[in-house]
Symmetry: C2
Subunit: 201 residues, 2 copies
């Protein structure tokens, strides 16, 4: 047990503004056996960004080779740049007993579920879409049009979310983080994950 137990891969998706990274950072805070995945991207580093911290920065050619040779668990294009989840980074962490969180969109999540069927799929939502609108308005950084687009995208995601295992509602981020931790612990107790103990007893 403990160090020898493999980590779990936890995919967290949900509408933009639901608070995914806040909740995941709260869940992993102080835990050495849990981490966020680091993505690879073809976009150029911004001032202050460090290779291997915010992202692994690679060129388009290398990225395309990674796609071809199945080195990514999922990938997508965003504003003309590639983004993806490096398989080896994730698998090395899992093998070392660390649980790894991925914060990705529904379409990327579906790709991960296909390649890693035992990934734990969590859909994180705000209490209501009205509440999501209020949070986005409060930020004051997005135009009314952008907010409308996000809400409309959220509704689409809700309709596509039927392959997730769990729903966490982010009303209070501490409660949501506690639910995420409970899900992770419960998944480690699953019969399939521990049945070897019955044979070894």
């Amino acid at each position: 047990m403990g160090n020898t137990e493999k980590g779990k891969l936890i995919v967290v998706s949900g509408p933009s503004g639901a608070g995914k990274s806040t909740v995941v950072f709260k869940a992993i805070n102080g835990r050495e056996d849990m981490c966020f995945s680091t993505s690879v991207t073809s976009r150029k580093p911004r001032p202050g960004e460090i290779d291997g911290r915010e992202y692994f920065f690679i060129d388009r050619e290398r990225f395309e080779k990674m796609v071809e040779s199945d080195e990514l668990l999922e990938h997508a294009v965003y504003v003309g740049n590639y983004y993806g989840t490096p398989r080896k980074f994730v698998e090395d962490k899992l093998d070392a007993g660390n649980s790894v969180f991925l914060d990705i969109e529904v379409q990327g999540a579906r790709q991960v579920k296909e390649k890693k069927p035992d990934a734990v799929m969590v859909f994180l939502i705000p209490p209501t879409l009205d509440e999501l609108r209020k949070r986005l308005e409060k930020r004051g950084t997005e135009s009314e049009e952008t907010i409308c687009n996000r809400l409309s995208r959220a509704r689409e995601e809700y309709a596509e979310a039927d392959f997730y295992d769990y729903i966490v509602v982010n009303d209070d981020p501490d409660i949501a983080a506690a639910e995420l931790n409970a899900i992770l612990l419960a998944e480690k107790c699953r019969f399939s994950a521990r049945k070897h103990m019955l044979a070894e007893a």
Copy 2:
């Protein structure tokens, strides 16, 4: 949410001496939304036992009528007396938002799973069967023969346990209780239990 959410039925089985009731009492300690089920029995109350606390004490005729009219989620005979889990007691608690723990043997657990397919099935085991032997010997209340029978029954139960959802290992009762609580919380977050929230968003 909260008070309006239905409780979960959690069945805990495992070898005699694994520490089921210790762990469940730790898990429900101080929690008003969780309780142990109270069984019905046809045996006579012992001095100090109170009807509705240790058991609901009824006569054999009434017990047999309860079996006929499907008022029990499971029942068994032990040393010539009937024992069973009253369906109405459990369902009333669940409807009121309380989660209910049942401490029953593998065969009774199978009956409950058939009648309540969404019951959460937990198999609680000692770290090893050697450890179980040590715990039983330490009690000093059982003969060598009884201990051998219990270990042999434990091995049978391990072989029949494939319908459980989770395995909790009772090495440290506090950790085992935390795992039980995590399982309960995670089950409340299941997609099937919360998908109505996506439609209502």
